[in-house]
Symmetry: none
Subunit: 226 residues, 2 copies
Amino acid sequence: MKGKIFIIEDEASIVQLVQHNLEKEGFVVSSSLNGNEGLKELKKFEPNLLLLDWMLPDLSGIDICKNIRRDSNFKSLPIIMLTAKGEEEDKVKGLESGVDDYVTKPFSFNELHARIKAVLRRSDPNIVANDLTFEDLKLDRIEKRVFRADKEIQLGPTEFRLLEFFLTNPKRVYSRDQILETVWPNNVNVESRTIDVHIRRLRQSINIKDKKELIRTVRSSGYSLV
Amino acid sequence: MKGKIFIIEDEASIVQLVQHNLEKEGFVVSSSLNGNEGLKELKKFEPNLLLLDWMLPDLSGIDICKNIRRDSNFKSLPIIMLTAKGEEEDKVKGLESGVDDYVTKPFSFNELHARIKAVLRRSDPNIVANDLTFEDLKLDRIEKRVFRADKEIQLGPTEFRLLEFFLTNPKRVYSRDQILETVWPNNVNVESRTIDVHIRRLRQSINIKDKKELIRTVRSSGYSLV
DNA sequence: TTAAATTGTAATATTTCTGTAACAAAAGAA
DNA sequence: TTCTTTTGTTACAGAAATATTACAATTTAA
């Protein structure tokens, strides 16, 4: 069971795109093109997550948010807000009125999907896959543990995130910039060479003697798993 | 054995939803769509708990309640009343006529489930799991006692709730925010560092020499049991 | 009411983690 | 080979997160 997602968004093309893709991912999806009706349908549908357009013809996103948060049955419904580019103040307002995350339009489905999983993982962990594995490596996001060949490995927080990142796309080569963007908290400035050091630390931790090296260096491109 | 639940409710869709979910949870469920018949069937069925709609076409919730309380065989049958939104006076009347709890429609199944467990825990402790255990730790929700290796341990109220929380999902790592949300009463603002102190107190209480530490610190993530 | 227990916070100590710089080693290029 | 570029390794100081302690305020019990 992947969970139920409700969409309130007035641009039919977006709804169609998102709904179709989410259903392909195994979610049960329902949607509404306007706010007032959407609210009613949503409460019947009882989703695990709401995708909410911030600019609707009838009701503003804030109003919907408030309404939802006031209803004891939906107080903790995770909400991801869809906002048009440049409406920076809206983001602030959104986060203040209890939105869990936001995605700026236009967005790629992959980006949205990642956000959805992240939000669901926090609010409703059973809905989302929590173990990442690759060969004899296993990372448990719930218990925050890492195993190589069934032996537990201790990692620092950054090494953990780094490995988690590689495990979401094994084999794929990531540049230092890509790694930096995803693994490090936003608006943090670190030397790109710093990654080398963390790679070293990660290697040191996950390598077992007689077992093959798991992190490959791709000269002038970056690193990848195996 | 999870116990038997009877439902008297005239909206077939609600009955279906609730009955289905309760059966999935292991309860034996029977139901009736109207009051007079429901009363008869109920007495044959001999449930451990009754879910009672307050607004029925034929008999009012109060009448049913009175009838039940007058019957010596069902004097102490726990009743949860289902009431439509805004019927505040009904709640008062309900509680006066011996209802144990009420749930406002529309409700989520999870909410109802929680209420049912809470009511059964009080009235019929054998039906509901009241002991949380993990390795040699045992927490008794009824008597509010905690044991480690069969030796009783004294905990303050907050430490008790904290441990109870960890025991509902052992091994899982919880962030300070999650702990705060669940363990502390709502809309109470406490410093997130305060949790560290309570963790310390809890550790101090449940740790026995020569026995392993039960609470794991996961740097930058939170805490978990073992 | 007094005494005891409980709570939250702030201050301090301790531990662990991070980023960087400096140098070594390796891989390409010429 | 020799030079250049890129990556590996190491050590270390400062930063960040957690542990511990003490204390005042509040609640509960006696």
